[in-house]
């Protein structure tokens, strides 16, 4: 028998834990964008060793499951003397992983910008760094917006894995409540519902932003 009662009673606690889900995915996405821009710049650099490093970075962070990356950040970093609190480790790792995907998004978007723009800016004497930050990056962000929003949605879902470093976000909280109430079906469905709503809202906000930027 399906018990709505169980869902109603536990919903506030479950919803409260969503703030960690949001915090980790939003900060992770911001970190991913900043770092992703750097890696993208390296991938497009005319120095071979920089392109190599960028390729290696992308291949590693896209090739290894996030769950394992999280364990590595939690256990392996302290071995080499870097000890970060769980939440910082989670945000850091999620962001490092997102950077690999977002650098590819930015690279794709940059390809869509007419070559002439960068050349014109260089011709009027803008420094390469300024061309990059003022001309190319803002446009790449705009063109890549749908993909960036998509990445944020993936991050919201991926944040369910940070339970392994001890952060009580939606998934961990639903595990606890399921154990206490012996109502796994109801509780996990409620958790799924919260994720779904968050992601639908993000997708909608992304579409609105996209429309505003293209006007």
């Amino acid at each position: 028998m399906f018990s709505f009662q169980t869902i109603v009673e536990n919903f506030p606690v479950l919803l409260g834990s969503a703030r960690y889900t949001l915090l980790i995915s939003v900060l992770g996405c911001i970190e991913g964008l900043i770092l992703g821009a750097v890696i993208c710049a390296a991938a497009l650099s005319n120095k071979r060793w920089m392109r190599r490093i960028a390729a290696l970075y992308v291949s590693f962070f896209r090739g290894v499951p996030l769950l394992i990356q999280l364990l590595a950040a939690y256990y392996l970093l302290p071995v080499i003397g870097i000890n970060v609190p769980a939440l910082a480790a989670a945000v850091l790792t999620v962001g490092l992983c997102a950077a690999a995907y977002l650098s590819e998004v930015l690279r794709g978007s940059l390809n869509a910008i007419p070559q002439g723009q960068a050349e014109a800016a260089a011709a009027i004497g803008m420094a390469p760094r300024d061309v990059w930050i003022r001309i190319l990056l803002p446009q790449a962000l705009k063109i890549g917006l749908p993909a960036i929003v998509n990445e944020l949605i993936l991050l919201v879902k991926a944040s369910s894995l940070v339970t392994v470093v001890g952060i009580v976000e939606i998934t961990r909280m639903s595990q606890s409540i399921a154990a206490a109430t012996y109502r796994p079906l109801e509780i996990y469905l409620a958790a799924a519902f919260i994720y779904l709503v968050i992601n639908l809202v993000i997708a909608q906000a992304g579409r609105m932003l996209e429309r505003r930027l293209t006007v």
């Binding site: 870097i82 000890n83 970060v84 939440l87 339970t163 206490a180 012996y182």
Partner: protein
Amino acid sequence: MTFYTTVKSALLGLGALAFTTSAVLADDLADIKAAGKIVVATEMHYAPFDMLENGEYVGFDRDLFDEIAKELGVTPEYLDLPWTSILPGLEVNKFDFVLAPVTMTAERAERYSFTLPIADATVAFVQRKDGKMTGPEDAKGMTVGVQKGTAQEKQLEAYGEKIGGITVKGYGTPDEAYADLMTGRLDAVAGSAPLLSYLANTRPDNFAVVTPPFGTPTYFGFVARKGDGDTLVAAVNDALEAIKADGRMAAMQEKWFGMATELPATMPEL
């Protein structure tokens, strides 16, 4: 730790990409006392020792450690970590002390510093109320769940070899194993006696403990780092003795296990 301070620490960690060794965690008793707080980790899925009720951490361990921290004169801070992350986490200084009940084994004692026993850890089976087992030897040929990476798992495997075959399935937490016992995927779950009697007492319509326990008698202790944590363990042991002496221990045992039992005042042979 409030949400906002954790947010702040996350932002700091993010901003600096966190290339600093943590100064927050203390290494030994002196550091903890200087900091005025002790960070302890457990998995809050281990009723009646550790559990979450409406998002709040409660249980025997919580009550006991609140008292121990009082004796030490420091503020406790509780972390919830998956069991398989806890012992490695202690080694890399993620926290000061393991509050999860750790079954005392000779191998672990070589690597970690145990406190005095805090509860009985002898292994038994629990089955569904309508289960057919009348004694532990009936487990032969059955599918039995157990928390993975635990001393109970090893004992179950050894027992399976002795009686001629048990299919062992490992779970992240005992809660998930109980859930799978209810779904009928498992015939029984192996676990420490206090956990199973708590389960059977709180849900008598669903579960029944199979008596007698099958494992060799063992105890739970808490754990600190070897070397650095030795002074801390000594202080916790003193606190434990004080808590036993004035009857607080018996009251907590009554509250969580339904009965008070005498615990060894010296380290048991492993």
